[in-house]
């Protein structure tokens, strides 16, 4: 691997790593302010209970306690409830009822963390436990307790019904199809579990009236605007600083009650207040992901041509509808579920329900629920292959969209920008030695080998980089992003962007984009992000948006600078702008390449005494806003090989081949790192991760003892490949890759395990395929992985 710095795209070490490796990162919890106080949250032990009384007197009397804030305190300020990103409301601190275990009930502000925590034990809350809705499949039953009686006239737990595609056409195809297969499947509730939990440090300055909030947010500008709209604080008096973030994965998009509590705590005490959540709080109360109960159906011909696909989904949104996605899309981008295949028609119906669990649903690198969509279609393809007795690779090859069909409009209205799917699948199969693997499997089966071998495939198409703003907004804020580029007199540059890295390496990648467009070294470009006082407005980093949107903004703003540089160069060189041509880093006279000026010389001149041409006031600096014309559609083919011990149920992932096509790769090393992480996620979800609840609503995955993250031991040495199909509408042809592997890999692992179990006549089993679940599947026992094991 080269370590020298490329003058643009190419492999280079991450600029941010020096500080992370040396322990010099600056996370919210590292920020210390003079006089800072500490907050702690009292949480509900019950899934559903009426609050009869809250007595804070003993806590208030504890020396060192500065304030105890309850729902009642907040109600007085009009802040007991806050709007969610899905146009619902969520309790900041409970007033009437608690609606999930772990819900916020009171907030203590004290001199240190120990006292704050001690004080929680002195708060007395009198609860009257209520029957709860734990099994989402019972949420709409007549007898189900009504969770959201705070909403006017609410008599059930129904949130929304939503559909996409052509119902009549789909029904017609199904009616006359030669083959119809149906499969129930649950994409269980999981959690992104970033290593840095959530938290906030709020500092309200009574003298200037300025509120500064340090908070690990993926969308600092959206937070600022929402604080302004909700709390009525003037927006120019709010500064949100999102410093280094220890992982976000979509779990740090929304505003959590603790943030509001820290702000109120600072306003009430006049001191900075820091609140950092602990691990269990993070797992119990912040945005979970998925929880989709799906019934998928596929219609095909006898020889394996897929004609139609449809699905009914019961979506468990928890106690408040707080999914973080473009507001017009209550099921996110789930309706891209026709996947990578040439399918005539498709239809989906999604019903969202309340349950007595934490709110969320859109997180964990899901590209607004494309994880669920890909899992559905990729599992259905295998189920169909099983029923037809066909090889799953052959079935996929037969149905994949062909290169000449792009741009392709899907049956649910998506316009896929570019792709050559068969080429990518063929490469993955070649890397895997697919035929040899199948031969080995056949031989082992024939020999009665007790260890079962399985081969699983998945082919995914992602849709990332939302907007366009016309179609996509969050609470009315259009999904576009700004960039600002300053070039100092010596030719060094500072790029300011509205998105915020949670570990993706923006400080390197974005510097490389500027470097590529301006012909300077990435070392000469500083990337500023995560501070609303220092960066232009934009919606932030999630849904793999950064490169498709902010990356495009970075390229476009650099081109503006380059164009200004051209005007300055024409003045310097005393030729008409049209007589100049650009070679990386330099404008020179056409036909006379020696006669020219470097970008550094031009930068100095633009700040100097040269007579500047019409239209240039001075400096090269520029700003821009990028409103994407369409989403970008990265895709890939994954193949997983597993060995299963049927006597213990243990699964060993032997190999994993991943061929990703994310268009142009800016820094291939960073791209590969993103893929490695996502593949590990896939193994985690497929084999071990799960948040189940017992019948009383107790969270059974509220620590890392119970909620398992995969380690290097469970991961094989990844075998990566690439094809490059540039996005035709993106300025540098890049497509975004942050979530691809998380979206695409779970299905490959599950398909591999089920392929191994095929001799037992098993067609499907739900994630996670833990040893006990594999064993139970072999016993032929039905499993509900979302409920407690009994």
């Amino acid at each position: 691997m080269t370590t020298s710095t490329p003058m643009g795209f190419g492999r280079m070490h991450r600029k941010e790593d020096a500080r992370f490796i040396r322990g010099r990162g600056q996370y919210v919890d590292d920020v210390q302010l003079p006089g800072m106080l500490h907050g702690a949250i009292l949480r509900s032990p019950h899934a559903h209970a009426r609050i009869l009384s809250v007595d804070t007197s003993a806590a208030e009397a504890l020396p060192g306690v500065k304030a105890v804030i309850t729902g009642e305190t907040l109600a007085g300020l009009g802040l007991a409830w806050m709007p969610t990103l899905s146009k619902d409301v969520q309790a900041v601190l409970a007033t009437d009822k608690v609606r999930f275990q772990g819900q916020e009930v009171a907030f203590v502000v004290a001199e240190d963390r120990y006292i704050a925590r001690d004080a929680l034990e002195l708060i007395e809350v009198d609860y009257e436990p209520l029957p709860s809705v734990i099994d989402a499949r019972t949420a709409l039953a007549e007898a189900a307790p009504v969770i959201r009686d705070d909403l006017d006239g609410k008599k059930d737990n129904h949130i929304f019904d939503w559909e996409a595609g052509d119902r009549a056409h789909t029904e017609a195809i199904f009616e006359r199809a030669e083959v119809r297969v149906s499969q129930d499947m649950l994409y269980p509730r999981v959690h992104p579990a970033p290593l840095e939990t959530c938290g906030a440090l709020a500092d309200f300055d009574k003298v200037t009236g300025k509120l500064t909030v340090w908070c690990p947010t993926q969308a600092p500008h959206a937070h600022r605007t929402l604080y302004a709209m909700v709390a009525g604080l003037p927006e120019h008096k709010i500064r949100v600083i999102s410093p280094d973030i220890g992982g976000g994965f979509g779990g740090k998009v929304g505003i959590y009650p603790g943030y509001v509590c820290a702000i109120v705590g600072s306003i009430v005490t006049g001191k900075p207040v820091k609140w950092m959540e602990d691990r269990s709080e993070n797992l119990m109360s912040t945005a979970f992901a998925r929880d989709y109960h799906m019934t998928g159906e596929i219609a095909a011909t006898q020889d394996g041509r897929v004609q139609a696909i449809r699905v009914k989904v019961l979506a468990d949104h928890g106690a408040f509808n707080g999914t973080a996605q473009p507001t017009k899309f209550p099921a996110g981008f789930f309706h891209v579920f026709s996947g990578s295949y040439d399918i005539e028609t498709a239809h989906c119906e999604v019903t969202g329900v309340y349950s007595n669990k934490a709110p969320g649903g859109v997180a964990y690198a899901c590209s607004f629920r494309i994880t669920e969509a890909v899992y559905l279609v990729e599992r259905l393809m295998d189920v169909l292959a099983y029923e037809l007795g066909m090889d799953p690779a052959e079935l996929r090859m037969k149905n994949l969209l062909r290169a000449d069909q792009f741009p392709y409009t899907s049956p649910t209205g998506w316009e896929y920008d570019s792709g050559d799917y068969p080429r990518t699948l063929a490469l993955a199969m070649e890397m895997a030695g697919y035929d040899k693997l199948r031969a080995e499997q056949a031989e082992r089966r024939a020999n009665g080998d007790r260890r079962l071998m399985g081969i699983g495939l998945s082919f995914f198409t992602e849709a990332v980089g939302a907007g366009p703003r016309k179609h996509m907004d969050i609470l009315g804020l259009g999904m576009a992003d700004g960039a600002e580029l300053r070039v100092h007199p010596t030719g060094k540059a500072v790029l300011r962007v509205s998105c915020q890295s949670q570990g993706q390496g923006h400080e390197t990648t974005f510097a490389q984009i500027v470097a590529e467009e301006l012909g300077i070294s990435p070392d000469d470009v500083d990337v500023v992000h995560g501070d609303t006082d220092q960066t232009p407005f934009g919606l932030g980093t999630y849904g793999s948006r950064s490169t498709p949107v902010s990356g495009a903004a970075a390229a476009m703003v650099t081109r503006k600078v380059r164009d200004r540089a051209k005007l300055v160069a024409s003045a310097m060189l005393e030729v008409a702008p049209d007589d100049l041509e650009w070679t990386k880093g330099r404008w020179s006279v056409k036909g006379d390449p020696k006669h020219g000026a470097t970008i550094q010389e031009i930068a100095l001149a633009s700040h100097g005494a040269v007579e500047l041409p019409e239209g240039v006031e001075g400096h090269l600096d520029a700003t821009c806003v990028y409103n994407p014309p369409n989403l970008t559609y990265p895709f890939g083919a994954y193949i997983c090989v597993v060995d299963v011990d049927p006597d213990t149920g243990q699964v060993d992932v032997r190999r994993f081949i991943a061929v990703d096509d994310c268009g142009v790769r800016i820094n291939p090393m960073i791209v590969e790192g993103q893929i490695h992480g996502g593949l590990a996620d896939g193994i985690g979800m497929a084999l071990m991760q799960l948040m189940a609840f017992d019948e009383d609503g107790n969270h059974l995955g509220a620590s890392f003892m119970d909620y398992l993250l995969p380690t290097a031991v469970e991961c094989p040495s990844w075998e990566l490949g690439e094809t490059v199909t540039p996005s035709p509408h993106h300025p540098i042809g890049a497509k975004g890759v942050g979530e691809s592997a998380t979206v695409g890999s779970p299905a490959a692992v599950v398909n591999a395990v089920l392929d191994a179990l095929k001799p037992y006549g098993i067609r499907h089993a739900d994630m996670p395929l833990t040893p006990s679940n594999v064993w139970r599947a072999i016993q032929g026992r039905p499993i509900r992985t979302d409920l407690a094991i009994t």
């Binding site: 213990t648 031991v713 094991i789």
Partner: protein
């Protein structure tokens, strides 16, 4: 961040000093060794001791040696030390097998053998390994030392025969020449507590089993063992069918509880399957010896 409740802290400089401190602070004091079980419980406020007596400086509890035909393992021996010991590897493959799958390197660097056994978690691996080896525990108190068979050391989940004011000093394991031993565990992920695990010790003379030890954990086997299955093995040939039957008998004494690691019948099944596998591997090792 999780923070513990208030507590006093004392660093003991010798065993008598530790015992004196325990007496001074009374039953609400706790010994802290590696702290890998106790500190998390304190942070979660499941444990709120008034004082911690730190025994990490007590070198006299950190020995690992063979004396008088027995392996003596001081209570303060770290998991990592046991795992790295050539002496242990020579005589007790089962302990190496077990240590390899206990927690992760960070926990193993600090966590101690004594702390593991005194924590008395019902899923604890070393309890099964030492039960299979029929080890003895030496407990020290103000009135001197007493020796307790490991199989009678645990009184129930999180309870042992170590009284307040006492310390576990060491474990003693007879060295049996020619014996083979092994440990088999099913975990959901590396570093996880066992779904179920079994350890086996086997001595073969003239083609017949003359001594057998079986240890089981996470499956509520009384005393972390299965004596009836051990008895069954004596005098029989070390063959698969015999091991399978011993496995069935071992599974029969288990009374596992369902939890998110698996339902009861799966765990019982594993108890049998893993006993069988551990016996087979132990026998193979005995033969190789």
């Amino acid at each position: 961040m999780q923070v513990p409740a208030r507590f006093e802290y004392e660093k003991a400089t010798s065993v008598p000093h530790a015992l004196a401190l325990l007496e001074r602070y009374g039953p609400d004091a706790r010994v802290v060794a590696g702290g890998h079980s106790l500190i998390p419980m304190m942070k979660l406020r499941l444990a709120q001791p008034e004082a911690l007596i730190d025994i990490n400086d007590l070198r006299e509890l950190a020995h690992l040696r063979v004396e008088g035909g027995e392996l003596a393992v001081g209570a303060l021996v770290r998991h990592a030390e046991l795992l790295a010991s050539p002496l242990v590897a020579e005589h007790f493959a089962i302990l190496i097998d077990a240590e390899r799958v206990i927690a992760d390197p960070v926990v193993r660097n600090r966590g101690t053998v004594g702390g593991s056994l005194c924590q008395a978690d019902p899923s604890e691996d070393l309890a099964a390994a030492f039960a299979a080896l029929k080890a003895d525990a030496v407990v020290t108190g103000p009135g001197g030392s007493r020796t307790v068979p490991l199989r009678g050391f645990h009184q129930g989940p999180y309870e042992t025969v170590v009284e307040p004011g006492e310390l576990l000093a060491e474990l003693r394991v007879p060295v049996r020449h020619g014996a083979g031993s092994a440990y088999e565990k099913v975990e959901r992920r590396v570093g996880d507590w066992p779904v179920a695990a079994a350890g086996a010790l086997i001595l073969i003379e003239d083609g017949l089993i003359t001594e057998a030890g079986i240890g089981l954990t996470a499956v509520s086997a009384p005393g972390f063992t299965a004596p009836e299955a051990e008895d069954y093995l004596i005098g029989r040939e070390p063959v698969d069918a015999v091991f399978a039957e011993a496995g069935r008998r071992a599974a029969a004494v288990c009374n596992p509880h369902a939890d998110q690691r698996g339902p009861a019948d799966y765990k019982r099944h594993l108890a049998g399957e893993l006993t069988r596998r551990a016996l087979r591997k132990a026998a193979r090792r005995a033969a190789e010896d």
